[in-house]
Symmetry: C2
Subunit: 334 residues, 2 copies
């Protein structure tokens, strides 16, 4: 997949940074590939990039407008369509990672035909998959898992992969969501796969490799999430990880957007991931806790690290602040 | 969904009864809706029904040929196509519950157009689903779960539903697989749903109901299955069962077709189902063990019941031999 870059990031009218995690991911991991953002009047989120019209973005070299938001359900609301048509008319392609196919919106299709621009759906694949085989594959695998969605599983995997690469190890980041695919340029939005084939798709995504090669696999969803746990379990089974890193936001008390669903205790979470994971890899172990501490002051952060390290006897790190040196040390001792 | 009946049951050339469970299910639960079977030369399975050509079946009143086998992966092998075309030419519609869409096979489509017959894919739905909401629904729900696939989850659910109906209780059997849908005439093949929407589809399948109404939901796959556990977990979360019945074949040592994967200990299995199930229904409990004892002699069967009852302190029953009276008593005490 070769996506047209740089991008104009479209934020729609979302409220809350977590719904714009695609846009933030692109901005942080591909800074040279974005020229600005386009927001609708009600939007309360910003990437900090300049606000540009599609025509201004095209003048600055943008080749596509990227839909950088992920509302619940992944559907494109009808009131976004005029901005999408305006982008096509300014000469930009459209890139989307949402469930709604760009090609399913007649007005957008008509505008793309009229302007000769392309509609690129990162989430969808025409590839068909087989059920998982459960066969053990050569090479080592690490999967990031979470107490919730949208708290750092992709960032954690990217930081770990970069740290191993920096140390000269054989390593590949494996993208499993639309933003990861946009960053890595390859991968698979695994939640769009038919349920019967999720573990098979995860096996395909992380094929046999050298014995000392690490696949660092971006996790999806959470076993504790009432909507998305099926994806999480299929990815866990098909990835057959030797190691998991549990990602957690210590300020969350309930699942984001599901106020009746509590965030699990970390020991319970590790235990449920390991018990489910042992089905396809009896050697699975938890090698660290990745904390999203962006909302903590220094004192609270230090206390949280101390408490968790003593309770769990595991490396505890915030990948954005601390990097993944301690975690990589632990992996090298495995 | 109104399927054309009666059927000619097509068994292809499968080896092993478990791959023909759709055919056996239709024969056992809809005896008036089948006229015979069609087998390819290498087939080692029989339903005991007369072997008929499509023309003979049509003469005896058959309105459709039903693909009554479920090979791994659910694909239609190319060497079945001539028999499928022969059925269309004999005036029969085709009914399939497999993953391969009948409409994706050009020769079959051409024959259907030439003969004016219909191609009916029970597994596929044009309905789109939302992600699960996790919202608690009124009414009671029982889900059958298993230590493996193909060991009696559908039969167990059907027998429990019939027993509750016989007692005058409000009850609905909810079909989640192709055979169940063919029997119930409604339902959803939930393993064909996109992974992100499995729990949402399970919520749709079992909507809010009277407080004293039981949905008895056909389980799918197994949490211990390396290929299909994602479907199992999405169905478990979306069904929010108040009660699970664990289905088990005491003669199996490994997952069927996966000789490296052990069948779990029953206590471990119950525990993992309950721990995952508590995410969406903290009140979930296991109310019984459904045994497939068809391969046991009387003495072994009696010893197995005795051992399990004392170890697990739960009703233990074989739905085919014993019915579900003891289980229904336990449900009424809940």
């Amino acid at each position: 997949m070769n996506l047209p870059q740089p991008y104009l990031l479209f934020l729609g009218d979302v409220h809350g940074d977590t719904y714009a995690k695609t846009a933030f991911g692109i901005r942080d991991w591909m800074p040279d590939a974005v020229v600005g953002q386009l927001r609708l009047p009600d939007c309360t989120v910003t990437t900090g990039l300049p606000d540009l019209t599609p025509a201004q973005a095209a003048q600055q070299g943008a080749r596509a407008m990227l839909l950088g938001v992920a509302p619940v359900g992944g559907a494109i609301p009808p009131h976004w369509i005029p901005a999408m048509i305006a982008a096509l008319e300014a000469g930009l392609d459209l890139v989307s990672g949402l469930h709604t196919r760009l090609g399913s919106i007649p007005e957008v299709v008509a505008a793309a035909e009229r302007t000769g621009r392309r509609l690129l759906d990162v989430r969808h694949t025409d590839r068909s998959f087989e059920p998982g085989t459960g066969v053990k594959r050569a090479g080592k695998r690490l999967l990031t898992v979470g107490t919730d969605c949208a708290l750092g599983k992709k960032y954690t995997a990217l930081v770990i992969a970069r740290e191993l690469q920096r140390r000269g190890r054989k390593v590949t980041f494996r993208a499993t969501g639309q933003t990861g695919v946009m960053i890595a340029g390859t991968g698979l939005a695994i939640d769009a796969v038919v349920a019967d084939f999720v573990s098979g798709a995860a096996e395909w995504l992380s094929p046999a490799n050298d014995a000392d090669h690490w696949d660092v696999i971006e996790g999806q969803g959470s076993l504790f999430h009432p909507a998305y746990a099926a994806v999480t379990l299929g990815l866990l089974h098909g990835s057959q990880p030797d190691a998991i890193v549990l990602c957690h936001d210590p300020t969350r008390r309930t699942i984001m957007g599901w106020p009746d669903y509590p965030i699990p205790d970390l020991n319970d979470a590790i235990d449920l991931y390991l018990r489910n994971g042992r089905v396809t890899n009896p050697q699975i172990r938890c090698v660290g806790i990745s904390l999203n501490t962006s909302k903590l002051d220094d004192e609270t952060r230090a206390r949280t690290y101390r408490d968790l390290r003593s309770r769990l006897d595991l490396p505890v790190f915030d990948p954005i602040r601390d990097g993944a040196g301690e975690l990589a040390d632990a992996l090298e001792r495995l």
